[in-house]
């Protein structure tokens, strides 16, 4: 699993979000290609859900 970062805070209601998924994505730009995790073969995009309002956010894992 990707290295943990701080909890995301829901931009809509301020509640702490739940990190429930990591998706392996393949780089589509040269910029992204520089950050590829060679072991996993791509980049990890984290998905977070807000238990309060259902909002969804994502961010690139470190």
């Amino acid at each position: 699993m990707a290295k943990q970062k701080s909890k995301m805070i829901c931009p809509k209601c301020g509640e702490e979000m739940n990190h429930h998924a990591d998706k392996l994505v393949h780089p589509v730009t040269a910029e992204d290609a520089k950050d590829v995790n060679a072991t996993l073969g791509g980049l990890i995009e984290e998905t977070h859900c807000c238990p309060g309002c259902g909002a969804v956010e994502s961010r690139r894992a470190e």
Binding site: M1, Q4, N18, H19, H20, A21, D22, K23, V28, E45, T47, C49, C50, P51, G52, C53, G54, A55, V56, E57, S58
Partner: protein, 189 residues
Amino acid sequence: MNDRPLNIPVILGTTRKGRMSAHAARFMAAQIARREGIVSELIDIGDIPMPIDDAGEGIKDPAFSEKMIRADALVIITPEYNHSFPGLLKHILDSCLKEYIHKAAGIVGVSAGPFGGVRAIQDFLPVIRELGLVNIFWDVNFGNVSKVFDESGKLLDEAFVSRADKFLNELVWMAKTLRYGRDNIALDS
């Protein structure tokens, strides 16, 4: 568990003129509307701005994205065109990603011939999986669709009420379960 009503939109996945899939979409939306605790709306992909000079998240429509964020499950109505699902349906679905992850999907196939879109559905499943959606194991297959609905959209075969009911039972269960997981179960727990 939070008490937000489940949100299950129906996506009409074709823009073709004279599409019989519109009858199937309205029928499925009506079946959802009979259930308490669920909000729904019919999303016609023909109403979504659809640039063709870019693809993927580059053509994301904010209104469609917001609807997908609110959704707990999707009912996707797909006709079968040349043994597969419509390219424009994929063009629209590809415009989002985080919005779908760990949400339920159920596919409704429509065809003029007897097979009810089964080949389109089989083609569709790997796409659904890659989008992060979780497909249920019930489908609804409207084969020979011109005999299932009349020209006004009136249902002519009541068996589809029971079939839609079983499909929705499974979809609602999956939607509730996945929402609980999204809200409460961390990836590393």
